[in-house]
């Protein structure tokens, strides 16, 4: 049984979060707190496994709770619930820096959005079940000559948790994640989160990044990450990240299509693409481009995904090599990458 404490100053939010969590028999909401001070007291008192934490609260905000919690004896995992604004993004980034374990955007348009509770439940479970990696492989300074592309949207973050934490060793390729998120800092927070789970170092992309082997990148929201081929002064061929402000595609930015297509032309057959859960049709064209350049294409199987729009858009174009369960994706990616020449 996972014991959860819900901290939020809004009764409305507390009710919704509690109701969502109660849908899972393995989760027990052991208490609620209405502000940070109350929250800290209840952490001490109830010793929950997981705390869901609001940021803007009277008396003591979520950031302060994280700071104070750091010195406490009982250390529950924390899941920040962030509001969907640039300000919220900034605070989320800060929260991750202060040791929050994960974050999630507060539910939007409850009546018409399905699966939010499932995502919350999965996140809470991941917090408890997925072990944090204490030792990291060193980021190799080596310029990557292969690339693994991951595209995901709604329902994607908890899957990324699972996928990245199941790599056992460093991969001899750069891994580029395109996760749809509002801009402002959420992707940086996501990178911080994944960095704690993955044996490989994870960072948010920066304009001009030279892709190195064994490094995971999370596309910065607000830009399209375009992979541009490059030749180093010493003559080694590789890829570079260029942040493009071109208008959103499929109304998202970053769009997986942009990253996938540009990576395919830069890396050719040494490209592996995967699609996880996601709404909409981004990723289909990109997967096709990877296929056309001789790369390997995969999508996750439907039963593991909250939403199957993105994967389906690729399947419709008949360009997918394999459909895999989430659990075996890391192994399969490793196998394919290692079998590639170059």
């Amino acid at each position: 049984m996972i014991r959860v404490l819900v901290v939020d100053d809004s009764l409305f939010m507390r009710t919704i979060i509690t109701d969502m969590l109660r849908k899972d028999p393995e989760i027990e909401v052991v208490g609620v707190a209405t502000n940070g001070e109350d929250g800290l007291m209840k952490i001490n008192e109830l010793k929950p496994d997981v705390v869901t934490l609001d940021i803007e609260m009277p008396k003591m905000d979520g950031i302060e709770v994280l700071k104070r919690k750091a010195t406490m004896e009982h250390q529950p995992k924390t899941l920040m619930l962030s509001s969907l604004t640039s300000q919220g993004a900034l605070m989320t980034k800060k929260a991750m820096a202060y040791g929050a374990d994960d974050f999630m955007l507060k539910p939007k348009d409850l009546a018409r959005t399905r699966g939010i509770s499932q995502e919350l439940i999965t996140k809470v479970k991941n917090l408890v079940n997925i072990a944090y990696v204490s030792r990291k492989t060193d980021p190799s300074a080596e310029i990557a000559n292969k690339i693994v592309l991951i595209g995901s949207s709604a329902g994607g973050p908890p899957m990324l948790d699972v996928l990245l934490s199941s790599f056992t060793t460093s991969l001899p390729a750069a891994i580029m994640i395109t996760q749809h998120m509002p801009e402002g800092g959420f992707t940086a927070a996501l990178a911080a989160r994944l960095n704690r789970l993955s044996p490989m170092p994870v960072k948010e992309t920066e304009n001009g990044d030279v892709l190195s082997s064994g490094q995971v990148y999370v596309s910065m929201a607000g830009y399209h990450t375009v992979i541009s081929s490059m030749i180093s002064p010493s003559g080694v061929k590789g890829g570079r990240v260029i942040h493009s402000r071109a208008p959103p595609e499929h109304s998202v930015r970053p769009a997986a299509d942009k990253t996938f297509s540009s990576a395919a032309s830069a890396f050719g057959p040494l490209t592996v693409s995967t699609i996880l859960s996601g709404m909409g049709s981004d990723g289909g064209e990109g997967t096709l481009a990877v296929k056309q350049h001789g790369g390997t294409t995969m999508v996750c199987r439907e039963s593991d995904c909250l939403v199957y729009g993105m994967a389906r858009s690729a399947l419709k174009l008949n360009c997918v090599d394999s459909v895999l369960p989430l659990r075996s994706m890391a192994g399969e990616i490793t196998r394919v990458v290692k079998s590639m020449g170059g």
Partner: protein, 671 residues
């Protein structure tokens, strides 16, 4: 109730609270900057926006978001609170209320003038940005605006036409494969746009027969950072854009590097985090004001009413059981019933307390009313509220809002004079209006006082004579108190012109009726030139009343203790006859005596006098005997019986007998 319905109800309740907080604090802001108020508005708007997003009420979300943005600026000290801005924000909060009303009646919560309102708010945000309070000329990241868009400000300046850039790219002098580098960078740029013009031409670049400088015009939507990075391949010394080209070309000639350092996103974000005061404040802010905290759960009031009814039944049945125990002399049952009795009365007290809500619940709306009214009437009013935490039963609270509102409007409209008139009489231009609530033993006292002109006795008397309410002779003889009392007569209004405010053809009589219905009293005092004072005395709760049980002609009857001034023995000799009316003389006071023969039948054994008081009038009634004092639950008469003059309700004491409760107000008035 489905899950969504339950959420909707919760949403409405909490949103109303947030809305109230916003309005309350906006009014605080009107009197000058107040950090706590700003922080609270920000948080309320933020919560409202978040909840609305969750519920999918898009219009609500947008209005609140725009408000939040404006307050973000105010909070970080970049926007000053201006009267026009407060007006706009208040208008926006009115919109919020409208939308909430709509949502509450199952509507979609949409707003007709949404775009207009949001735009007006955004204009404030934008307007302040360009005139720039604090940022002095130097281009700063846009995050000042609270919108952490990652767009480089420089981009806007350098873009000569929409999406068209002039670029100058210089390779390092020692670059040994100019053709390769040149080709690569042009290819990279191709990824991001269309190269319209290139000097030297591509073919020449590919041949490597150029001096290492490429000038080009490119059309692209990828932004300046992307283009700069795309062009910055190995061996590139510098990449310049737009009008910087000429300037830097000279610099380059003198050997200085003149490279625009690429402004990366972390730089921008980092800068924002370090320098924007709004953000650091957000974290540091400690909440000290405990009274602002809300610690309660919401229960539908009808459920509380149901519970109250059940408790009342329990009280009645316990009384019955007690009688049975006595009748059959079962000692054990009696003892147990005593215990039950204690629990029941604890439960009853608890229930009463639960039903109590602080007066601030209705008081909070008044500052807005006063403000709007004062603006309209061109008056200056300092409105203070005290004792908002005094609690009253919810059922009384419901009936109190309108009379209070009326009295407050009266205070601004008739009481407080215009500034120039006040100055002439040596008073400060700004009038004072105080609303004070306090607990006085079992009652709640609410006072509304102003330092205005006071009530003009002559005017009131004149009007009353005109209306034929009193004669001229009476007018001269009447005490001030009695004259002021005339104000409460139906149809009386002293306002010389009918304003759309308080003189709407309804006068203070409506107020008095409302207060009467709440079993309360109202009293007015006034001194000319100094102001008026209205005092309301209310029972804290209506449901349970302390009564005196009496018998008249052998029948039982309950009289609320509130209305009883005194109980005395009746010795026949003291009865005087004034015309057909009997009266008694009590401490130099003549009090009319009533015998309630028409209600209870003629009694021969009246031995005791009960002196009743309502408002300032006293009456006395004769009763056979007094059984005692007890707390009872008063139930209204069933609608089938309808109104019954002189009886305000019935109560059922322990023995199960149905006992009428005397309506003292009616009796005092009637006779």
């Amino acid at each position: 109730m489905s899950e969504m319905d339950a959420y909707r109800a919760l949403y409405i309740a909490e949103s109303r609270e947030n809305h109230e907080t916003i309005v309350k604090n906006l009014l605080v802001l009107e009197n000058g900057p107040d950090e706590a108020a700003i922080a609270e508005i920000f948080r309320s708007a933020h919560s409202l926006k978040g909840m609305s997003a969750t519920m999918g009420f898009k219009h609500m979300e947008r209005v609140c978001h725009a408000m939040e943005d404006v307050f973000q600026l105010i909070r970080s000290g970049q926007l000053e609170v201006h009267q026009d801005l407060v007006d706009l924000l208040l208008a926006a909060s009115d919109d919020i209320e409208l939308m909430l009303d709509d949502i509450e009646s199952d509507g979609p919560g949409t707003l007709d003038h949404l775009e207009e309102r949001v735009q007006a708010l955004l204009d404030w945000k934008a307007g302040q940005n360009t005139t720039g309070g604090k940022n002095s000329g130097s281009p700063q990241p846009e995050n000042i605006a609270g919108d952490f868009s990652t767009q480089n400000v420089g981009e806007a300046l350098l873009e000569e036409e929409e999406g068209q850039y002039q670029m100058l790219i210089r390779l390092r002098d020692d670059c040994d494969s100019r053709n390769l580098r040149g080709m690569l960078l042009l290819q990279n740029l191709d990824q991001f746009g269309t190269i319209i013009q290139c000097i030297p031409e591509r073919a020449i670049v590919e041949d490597g027969v150029f001096d290492g400088t490429i000038r080009l015009v490119i059309r692209s939507d990828a932004g300046i950072d992307a283009l700069k990075t795309a062009a910055s391949v190995s061996d590139v010394k510098e990449v310049l854009f737009g009008h910087d080209i000429n300037l830097s070309a000279e610099k380059a000639a003198t050997g200085s590097t003149g490279v625009i350092k690429p402004l990366t996103l972390p730089d921008i974000m980092g800068a924002g985090m370090d320098h924007s005061p709004g953000i650091s404040k957000l974290v540091k802010e400690e909440r000290v004001d405990k009274s602002r905290e809300v610690k309660n759960i919401r229960v539908d009031i009808t459920r509380l009413d149901q519970m109250m009814n059940l408790i009342e039944d329990l009280v009645i049945n316990r009384g019955r059981l007690a009688q049975i125990a006595r009748k059959f002399q079962i000692k054990e049952l009696d003892e147990t019933l005593n215990m039950v009795g204690r629990s029941v009365s604890d439960l009853q007290n608890l229930m009463m307390n639960i039903r109590m809500i602080p007066l601030s619940h209705i008081f909070n709306r008044f500052p807005r009313t006063v403000r709007d009214l004062a603006h309209k009437e061109e008056k200056e009013v300092e409105f203070t509220i005290e004792g908002g935490d005094t609690e009253l039963d919810r059922s009384i609270m419901d009936g109190l809002n309108d009379p209070l509102l009326h009295l407050i409007r009266n205070g601004v409209d008739h009481g407080i004079e215009k500034p120039e008139i006040r100055m002439k009489s040596g008073k400060p231009g700004k009038g004072k209006l105080n609303l004070i609530a306090s607990r006085d033993r079992d009652n709640v006292v609410i006072v509304i006082e102003d330092d205005g002109a006071g009530i003009n006795r002559e005017k009131v008397a004149k009007k009353a004579i005109e209306r034929g309410l009193i004669t001229e002779l009476q007018a001269v003889e009447m005490t001030d108190e009695a004259v002021y009392d005339l104000l409460f007569l139906p149809g009386f209004s002293t306002a010389e012109k009918i304003t759309d405010v308080s003189g709407r053809g309804v006068g203070l009589d409506v107020v008095r009726t409302a207060i009467d219905n709440l079993k309360g009293t109202i009293k007015v005092e006034s001194s000319p030139g100094k102001g008026s004072r209205f005092e309301l005395v209310l029972p804290p709760t209506m449901a349970i009343v302390n009564v005196i049980m009496v018998r008249i002609n052998g029948r039982r009857c309950a009289i609320p203790v509130n209305n009883v001034v005194e109980v005395a023995g009746l010795s026949v000799s003291k009865i005087h006859h004034i015309g057909t009316q009997e009266a008694i003389m009590m401490r130099d006071e003549v009090i009319p005596l009533d015998r309630l023969d028409d209600m209870f039948g003629k009694s021969d054994q009246t031995e005791i006098l009960v002196v009743l008081q309502h408002q300032n009038k006293k009456r006395t009634i004769a009763v056979d005997m007094i059984e005692g004092q007890q707390e009872v639950v008063i139930k209204p008469l069933s609608s089938m019986i309808g109104g019954c003059r002189g009886i305000s309700g019935i109560t059922i004491p322990g023995d199960g007998e149905v006992v009428p409760v005397l309506d003292v107000n009616a009796i005092v008035k009637e006779s």
